[in-house]
Assembly symmetry: C2
């Protein structure tokens, strides 16, 4: 029986421990192709490279395993993986494991999750994995069985058209993970500031800083789930239409 063909990418770059962990897991269940950024691409969202040439660098070719880096964004990686590197569409696209949560509105800034949405736009089952721990030395050992179980579910049952999954894991704690919650995206925001500094030439510059503020009082969301040591799964889509607002806006006169 043919093994499923799995495309792996991320936004922390091909050398990040998170993607290395994901590669190791995926090689136990599939024929794996990695196309990942050659440098960190966090916060790149759904950016695509249209003004500079894209390069693909072959790092490793073995039976059932190929690894490439690319000088573009995570979305570029998915497109190059499909159109340049692979001879057929993958059965599954996985992205991550991201060093840091992509729950709530972080999904919009995330390159990891943009890669997953790009997969959904191509109608390929796609799942993003993120750990609520930004450390480069984060412990990923508690997530393996969940990643394998989620991927096997998706490979066996498929996903509805144009749907993909945003999976977030709590950071490793003394107690084991309590289970899985299928939930909605929490209502939260970044309360941001810019730190103003002055360079040696006496010109001002700014660094973005901020504090994540969760204003969601519910328990059926991703923030509550990971804060309570559950794995959160949010099914997400790329149709941004606010259907509930259409009738109201039709009353306006232009």
């Amino acid at each position: 029986m043919d093994k499923p063909l799995i495309l792996i990418t991320n936004d922390d770059g091909v050398t990040a421990p998170g993607i290395r962990h994901l590669i190791k897991l995926m090689r136990t269940i599939g024929d794996v192709v990695v196309v990942a950024p050659d440098k960190p691409q966090s916060g790149m969202s759904h950016a695509v490279t249209i003004s500079s040439p894209l390069r693909v660098n072959q790092l490793k070719v073995e039976p059932f395993y190929k690894e490439f880096s690319c000088n573009g964004t995570p979305v570029d990686c998915v497109k190059l993986g499909q159109k340049v590197v692979m001879s057929r569409n993958p059965d599954l696209i996985v992205s991550g494991i991201n060093h840091g949560s992509n729950a709530s509105v972080n999904v919009l800034y995330s390159g990891t999750m943009a890669a997953v949405l790009e997969g959904a736009m191509e109608n390929i089952p796609s799942v993003g994995f993120s750990l609520d721990d930004y450390s480069i030395n984060a412990d990923f050992s508690h997530v393996d069985s969940y990643i394998l179980s989620i991927c096997n579910n998706v490979l066996q049952k498929g996903l509805s058209p144009y749907l993909c999954l945003n999976v977030n894991f709590p950071a490793k704690q003394a107690e084991p993970i309590r289970g899985v919650k299928v939930v909605r995206q929490a209502q939260a925001f970044w309360d941001e500031e810019f730190e103003e500094r002055t360079d040696p030439r006496n010109r001002k510059y700014y660094w973005l800083t901020g504090k994540f503020v969760n204003v969601d009082k519910g328990e059926d969301n991703d923030e509550w789930s990971i804060a309570n040591n559950y794995v959160s799964i949010v099914p997400i889509q790329f149709d941004l239409t606010a259907f509930h607002a259409i009738e109201q806006l039709k009353q306006w006169t232009f």
Copy 2:
């Protein structure tokens, strides 16, 4: 009576004819602050600059008018506008006029529309304007009354929390625009290829190319509207949860 405070940005850069046209229009109804990228940032989506310093360059200060450029993305411009440049939150954020349509799935790649979504995340009424004509010399003369009418509606009536508008105009045609349609995002995709070339050092590189394919058979969407010489307005939101899929996924065993 105080004039409304309006923040303007785009993704084609501060010198693009589209934003110059929008600035001219907005100055007739408000106190205007421009914070726009100092170079083209098309396709940057919701990217934020976190690994390099941000610079803000003051270009013009007049009564009721201030203009700045920034070396970041459109989303950086909105954040810098609010947190560094302006002393209070704007009453309205407008982005564009984009040279090229941001209807259908283009909303996900667009820096113009990411700026608008960023406004919505800050709960500021925000509207993105795009013209279905990629030419730098595009004719914007047929859209003025619609832009003013849409902005006045939003200023007077507000928008529901966390909602923003994706407005697309048909390219200038012999007949005048037929009116406004409040519609949903069309189901379409980019059928993409990479053009492979070889550089003078004999290394391969790739350019993203593609053809936009509209598979939506309906008439209640943005693609149909602009193809039929209507202005399309799609109310959009940044909650990506596919609520219809939650119950189904809860049946899975992990």
